[in-house]
Each structure stands twice: as structure tokens, then as C-alpha cells.
């Protein structure tokens, strides 16, 4: 049966399988690094004493200091104007899902942080002018203008059914926030909120309860993945929804479907959408064989990128597509050797 499904998927999309991916090589110990530019010029890393530092051009500078045991996460975007730092104090000692973390902004490649709020899962939008994040304690999604922190909008989620739900959020224009929410029957929806009109529009509602929506906004379209949480056997779909000239978002172009439950975890780049695809599923012991796959925006061609069997995540870090697997990071796109110190040539 699985074989038939696989053949069906193969017929719908041309699948190509890639060779082994190179490992990411860095100057610093990889487990200390929190952000690395695609060319290796800027490295944000943390120290055990709770300090976040920036290493660049043979010099180190302190970005921020916090108590021992603090952990940092840094998020960027393709615009490369700002970075968002999520500060997690008492990382090993405070095991509380609902504790919001401090969120700071810093200019890309610089060191002066400004606190912008508390929450988790921050995301930069619209040329790094807005940031969206979620506060698990208040259950609010907040959109804040980075250039003018007084410009801020918060939406309280309707979700009552999953206390541990972390919505995805992003902005498409200065006025519109897109975010995911769950209704009391377990249906997830992608919702658009207009700040000016104070109006909610359902962009897409999942077809079954227990489905999960992932999305990213790329070049005037929403790339939306509909996946399942766990062992629901509802299959997977990835679609593209034009942002403009699309009344009530009725125009939905299917890019990919599979009868298997993919993990999903969509990550967009300029040319491709990356996601975690299920290749095989052993229902008896609930084990999925999963790989990173990418679909080209140009021709909808599907390509399996990894051959690691149990991949669960894929990250876009400053344009470098990274595949975390066990304690290694594989480079699916971008430069993998970032540990060579070479003096600039005269031409440069």
C-alpha cells in the first residue's frame, strides 16, 4: 500500500533525490553559536556565564549580559536589517511553558539591543519593520513596529482546546496580520486581521480537526501547508494563495499533495519552499521515515534534499538552509565551510 502511495506521489511530482549534504563547519563551537551570517562574517554566540557576544572581523563585542544559565535564540530574515533576540533566563531551572521570554531587537551585525516585549516565537516581517510574537501566558499574538514601538496591536487567540498551542504569525502589509488559531472543535484556521478595519477574515480553514497549518509569506503569496499533528492519517497538502486580486482568498493553487502525514515545518526561501516529507510510515510503532524536501516555485518540482531518514526540522538562517540532525547541522543550500580565515585579496 505504501508502495502504491509512493508511486502515486511520484507520478504527480517529479522527485529527484540528492547526494549527501555537507556539514556546517564553523570557527566557534557550534553549540555556542546562535546566529551566523551566510558568509560567516558575523557570528553571534553565547557564553556559559550568560553573555551574548558578536564576533566579527577578528574582534569580539558584548551584545548583552544576563544571569548565568541564560540562553538566547536569534531570528533574522532575508532583509538583513534587524535581528530579534529571545532571552530565556534560567534555561535549565525554569521549566515553565507559560513563562514569557524577553524579546529584543538589534540592528543586523550590530550590538545594541532594545527590548520590544515579552513572549516567544518572534518573526520579522515587511522588510524588518515589524515583528510578531506570541505571549503564552496572555494567549495574545502581538505585532509591533520595530521603528516605532508605540505602534502595536495584540489579538487574543480563541484557542481553548490546546493549552500548549503556539500560533504562527506574520505580516503582509503595514495593516494586516496573519496568524493561526484553533476553534473549540480542533479545526485550525489561518486568519487575517486588519488593524484599520479591525476585521477578521478567514483565509483558510483546515478540512478536518487535528490538522496543523504552517505558512510563510513569499513574493505576494502565502505558502500554506496543511499537515497533521500525529498519526491522524489525513495526508498533507501545500498550496499557494495569492495575497492580492484574490477575493476572500478563494483562489488556492495546490502545489503538492501526499497521502502520507508529513511533518511539514515549512520554511520558505526565495526560490523554494522546504518542508519535512514523510517517505514511509510504520503505523504499528508510529515511526516515520522523513526527509527534507523542496518544491521549486518556478515549476512545482519536488526534490528530496536529504538522506538522513529521521529529519524533523529545517531552518533558514540568513539564506542558508540548515538541516539539524542529531548534533550536526547539514547545509541544504548555501556555504558550508565557514571556518576558514582568509585574508582578503587585493581585488576585494
Amino acid at each position: 500500500m505504501q508502495f502504491i502511495k509512493y508511486v502515486l506521489v511520484s507520478l504527480l511530482f517529479t522527485i529527484q533525490v540528492t547526494a549527501k549534504l555537507p556539514e556546517l563547519q564553523t570557527k566557534q563551537a557550534l553549540n555556542n553559536i546562535r546566529f551566523l551570517t551566510h558568509d560567516g562574517k558575523f557570528t553571534y554566540y553565547q557564553q556559559h556565564n550568560g553573555e551574548l557576544q558578536l564576533s566579527t572581523n577578528y574582534s569580539n563585542s558584548s551584545v548583552m549580559k544576563s544571569q548565568k544559565g541564560t540562553s538566547y535564540n536569534i531570528f533574522g530574515s532575508s532583509t538583513r536589517k534587524s535581528l530579534i533576540v529571545e532571552v530565556r533566563k534560567s534555561f535549565h531551572r525554569n521549566l515553565n511553558f507559560f513563562k514569557p521570554n524577553d524579546i529584543y531587537k538589534i540592528k543586523f551585525g550590530e550590538i545594541s539591543p532594545t527590548k520590544i516585549g515579552v513572549g516567544t516565537a518572534p518573526k520579522l516581517s515587511i522588510n524588518d519593520t515589524w515583528v510578531t510574537y506570541f505571549n503564552p501566558l496572555t494567549q495574545e499574538v502581538t505585532a509591533k513596529n520595530i521603528l516605532d514601538l508605540k505602534k502595536s496591536h495584540s489579538i487574543k487567540l480563541k484557542n481553548k482546546i490546546n493549552p500548549y498551542f503556539i500560533p504562527q504569525s506574520a505580516m503582509a502589509t503595514q495593516d494586516t496580520l496573519f496568524y493561526t488559531d484553533i476553534n473549540d472543535k480542533g479545526y485550525m484556521a489561518l486568519i487575517m486581521y486588519s488593524f484599520i478595519e479591525k476585521k477578521f477574515t478567514t483565509v483558510f480553514k483546515s478540512n478536518f480537526p487535528g490538522m496543523r497549518l504552517d505558512f510563510c509569506i513569499q513574493d505576494e503569496k502565502i505558502i500554506l501547508g496543511e499537515f497533521t499533528f500525529d498519526s491522524l492519517n489525513r495526508g498533507s497538502t501545500i498550496s499557494s494563495i495569492p495575497l492580492y486580486d484574490n477575493s476572500n482568498f478563494k483562489k488556492i493553487n495546490t502545489m503538492y499533495t501526499s497521502e502520507l502525514d508529513d511533518i511539514g515545518n515549512l520554511t520558505c526561501s526565495k526560490e523554494n519552499v522546504y518542508f519535512i516529507k514523510t517517505i514511509d510510515y510504520n503505523q504499528k510503532i508510529n515511526v516515520k521515515k522523513t526527509e527534507v524536501a523542496k518544491i521549486s516555485f518556478k515549476d512545482n518540482k519536488l526534490k528530496i534534499v536529504t538522506d538522513l531518514n529521521y529529519v524533523t526540522n529545517v531552518i533558514n538562517m540568513d539564506g542558508t538552509i540548515l538541516v539539524p540532525f542529531r548534533n550536526k547541522y547539514y547545509v541544504a543550500k548555501g556555504q558550508s565551510v565557514l571556518n576558514k580565515d582568509q585574508l582578503k585579496s587585493e581585488k576585494e
Binding site: 535564540n73 536569534i74 525554569n94 500548549y164 480542533g186 480537526p209 491522524l232 511539514g264 508510529n286
Partner: protein, 629 residues
Amino acid sequence: MVSALYFIFPKNAFSNETPGLYQTLETLIEVQDKSFAKKMKKLRNKISNLNNLKDPMTVELDPDFINHILFYSPSRYSSLAHKDRCSLYDLVLSGHLKDKEGQLRRFLIKYQTRKGKIKTSLVSKSTFLQKVAFKQCPQSQKFQKYFNMRNLKKTLKTITLEVPTSYDQCYKVYNEFVNDYKTPYLCQIYEQIKKVPALKIAIRNTPRSNFKLATKLKRSLSLSNDYKRVLNIKSYDYLKNLCDNIEKPKKFCHDFFELSFWKKIIKGEKSSIYIKNMCLEIYKRKSLTPRQFQKCARELSRDPGRCHYLNKFDRGLTPKPSCSNISKALNLSRLVSNYNDCPSKTGNEGILNIARVINHISPKKKFSDNLCQLESTKAFAQFSHEVNDGRDWNVHLCYEDKLNQKEVCLPTLLGEYPGSDLSMNLVVAKILRRTKGFGNEQKCSVISNKEYRPTLLEYKSGCYIIQSDKNCSGTNCKFKIMNDELEIKHITFKSDVLFTYFPVEYTKQNSSQFNLIQKHFKKKSRKMLNISFVKTIFKQKPNAIIQGIGCREDLLPTFFQKRSLNQCTPLPFIVDGYIEDKGTLSLVVRTALDSLHAPRIVSWSYVYSALKAYKDLHPMSLWGLYAIY
């Protein structure tokens, strides 16, 4: 089974050429259908009443007719026709055999007339039964009588549905059923009861104008309900297993020995505590009778999707696994869990996990039926007071000791827990005694915002601690204290629960909860480095469980995503069983976000990745997976 096949494909049906299995089958069906249709067309208007029948014992059913009905009848019942012609008639009488149009109304037979002529004729069902079947098999007529509604109750009393105690015995029981002429009649009862939901829908959807159909459906529903009244739940389940698996002895026996966890609850082999919260939510009641729990367990057993969002009382991560996966996991699970907790209301995943471990290694017989979060916080706080004077339970009510000019803080639970000195009502009363001359006989009560009605006489006097309904967890809560309608403002609340689960510093290893539990309960531990360690410990130590901390983004990748380099959120979890298939292993996992009674089956690969990612960020490079026993 082989003989049944011969019925369907008489030897002459196989022609010289065999172009391929599928094509042959298709061709055969076509040939059979054509031949049968031709015969039927010829005889359609010549229905015989068999007045010229010479000897009923020589009557035979037409082979094409037999092939036709066996083809259109459920294959599992067709297999019961292999014994002799009487077994086929029993299937006819019990309604299991069908033709292209559904229920059998006419029979195509070959018989000898009184003049000695061989004739093929079409006869009505009643003619066939009275003049042929009951003459050839008088026993079938008796069975029909025994199993009609009037005699059914009496008949069923004479039939034993034997529950086997071993696989060998089970196969013996199975063979007895297959060879028993009464089996089709027993399955008729099950099939009729099974129709109830479909019949109800059909009746609802049938327009009143279609009176004939509506009456027919209502009559059928009435019969189903009559059968339902005669058969108890256990017998229905037994027959369901038998009739659904009449061709599959392995599956039939599997149901007895590898029972779903829900069926074990129905049988009383497992406690209903496992389904209490889900069933209270389904039935929207505060308590349920044992019979209602059985009914509920049956519902969970039948509908795998029912469990995903039953979360009103557990307040855990949703969707939960399917009911079938929860059942599978609970069957493999060994964690003592004779109580309920509620993850998101506890307010700390570490506390919840530690409480689950403590309740496993030092099980209690009685649990409070009070606030669910108190089960976890009380276990943790009490343990903390026993091992290090409550250093790790940093939830306090404080007041100013004016005599000694210092602030005094007393540890408290955020609620009433019968028998615990840390109960909030007792702690508040203690402080009021010291600061406001509260009498020894005076008591305080903890109530919720919703319960508090200041206008009621009941609340005009006495001490009430009124907790906020929103954002109130086991470690943090907004509340106010009212004593004789006056708000008490000199008692302040402090909460900062920070502790190490596994050691994070070499110099302070002894103060981690992991080490304290081992020392206090005199337990041993072993690091679980690979799947062999896991399998060995579960085989060797029947009470061993494994506790761990890993990154949630690797452990539950469909729920939590990684978006940045080295992103990790530590999540404690317990492993208390495993399942293996062709060398690949999955574990029975309860993360501290999961409901206690809804464990997940998680691939070892995910657990390994979660541990590895956490190890990389740990100051001591800790591999956070230890068995405790």
C-alpha cells in the same frame, strides 16, 4: 475455505487458457453472470410451487445460483457454508446470504418431477424452505424456531460463550463455532444490532411520503432494539469478535489475549480512572456509574478519533493520540497512575514530571478529588520539605513580624489539600492567628471567584481565600483574602519556583531533584545510552521507569518547530514501555505536557535527537535519560 472456493469456481469453469490471475477472475465472473442471467430470464415468469416434486431429498440448488449468491454475500459468512447443504440453508435462514438485489427472494433449483423428468425451476423462498430445505434439514427449521424473538431469551440461556484462557483453547473454541450450525443465527443477532445507527439515520432521512420504506425501516429498528434488550454488553462484544473474525482465527484469539485497554476497563480488569476525565467530558456529568464507564469505554474502543480533543479536565497537549494508539501505549505502560493530574494547570513541567515519578516509586492509595494541579504540587512540595526543608518549593505567603521586625514567609499550596499542613486555608489561618488574633476554632476556606457571592449571607462572616479563575496555576495565582467582609492586605504572595531537575553544576549535583529522589527513596539509577539499555532495564526490572529531559522541538516535532540555530526548549518526560517492529524501536512516552492517561508512542529516533540536542546545550554535557528502580 477450499470447499467454498469449489462452489464458486466449479472445475469446468476453468478454461484452457489462463491469461493472468486478475483477467481470469474477471472473465469468470462475467461468464458466471451471463450464464446465470440467461437462466433467470428464461424462468422469470415460470415460478413453480413444486406440486409435481417427486422427492424433496433429491432437490439440488443450481450451481450458477450458488455461485451467484456466494459471490454477493459477505465472504466471511460464505465460509460457513462449507459443511453440507444444511449449513447453506442455515445461512439463508439467518439472512447472511444475498443475491445481486439484496435479500434472497427466489431460488433456482434442479429437481425430478413425479414423471421422472429433471427440471430446472425458479421457486419462491417460502416454497423452497417448506418443501425442500426443512425436509432435507429438519434441524434448520428447529433452529429458526429457537432463534425467533419469542424463544430467543430461552435459547441464549442454553448457549455458552466460552472465554478461552490460552491460545490453544481459543483455537479449539473457534473451531467449535465454525462447525456449529447455530453460529449463523448468533451472528444474525449481532448483525441486526449493528444496524441500529444506520437504521436511525435512514429513518431520519426517509421522507414521510415513502411510507412503505419508513415502516420497513422502523420494523427493522424495532427488531434490533428487541435483540439489544436480550443481549448483554459482554455477549455483544463476544459475538462482534466472533462474527467479524469468523474467517480469521488469529484475530479472534488476539482479541482475548491482546485486548484493547478499553476492553480491559469494560471487563473490570483495569480501573476506570484512566478514562474518568474523558468520560466526564463526554457525558457532561460530575460523576458516572460503573455501567456508564463501561459504555464510555466501549465508545472509545469503537471510535479511534474520539480521544483527540477530550481535554476539558486534563488540560494537556492536544490533539492527544488516537484512542487506539493510547490503548496500545497503555497496554505497554507500567507507570503507576491511579490518579489524575492536569499539566497546563500545574504551571511547571518539572514539578509535574517529578510528581509523576514520586507517585510511581512511592504510590499512594488515596488521592484528593480536589483541584487536579494540587496532586502534583502537593507531591513536589511535600517531597521538598522532607528532603531539604522546602528549599525548592518557593511558593510562600508572607507577613511582617512586627515583634522581630522581619518578614516571615510560610510555604503554601495554592489550594486546599485535605491532610496537608501546606494547605492554603491552614497557612492563612496560621498567619491570621499570629497577626490578627484569629481564634483556634476559626477556619478559612479556599473558593473560586465564581463561587464567591458577597451578597449571600454565607459570605458575610468568616475567612475566605478567593482565587482568580483566570491564569491560576499550581505555582502562581491571583487571590484575595476576605475576613468578615474585610479584605486582608498584610499577607503577600511570593512565587519563584526554580530548581534543577538533573544536575547542571558539578559542585551542586546532590541538590538536583534527580539525586534527591534517588537518595530519599533509596532507589538506584542507570543511564540509558541506547535501545539495548532500554530493553534490558524494562525486561530485568518490572517496576523501572525512565525519566529524561530533551528538546521539545525534536521530541514532538509536529507540535513545536525549530526556527533558529540551537533552538531548544527543555521538556521533561517519562518512558515506561517500548514496542518493537523489525528491529526498530518506539517508546511509550508521557512528556510533561501530555495528559497522564494519554501516553504517546514516540520513535526512539526522536527521543535520541531530543537528548542529543539538549546535551549539546547542557553545561555538563548531560545525557538526560536515566532509569530509576
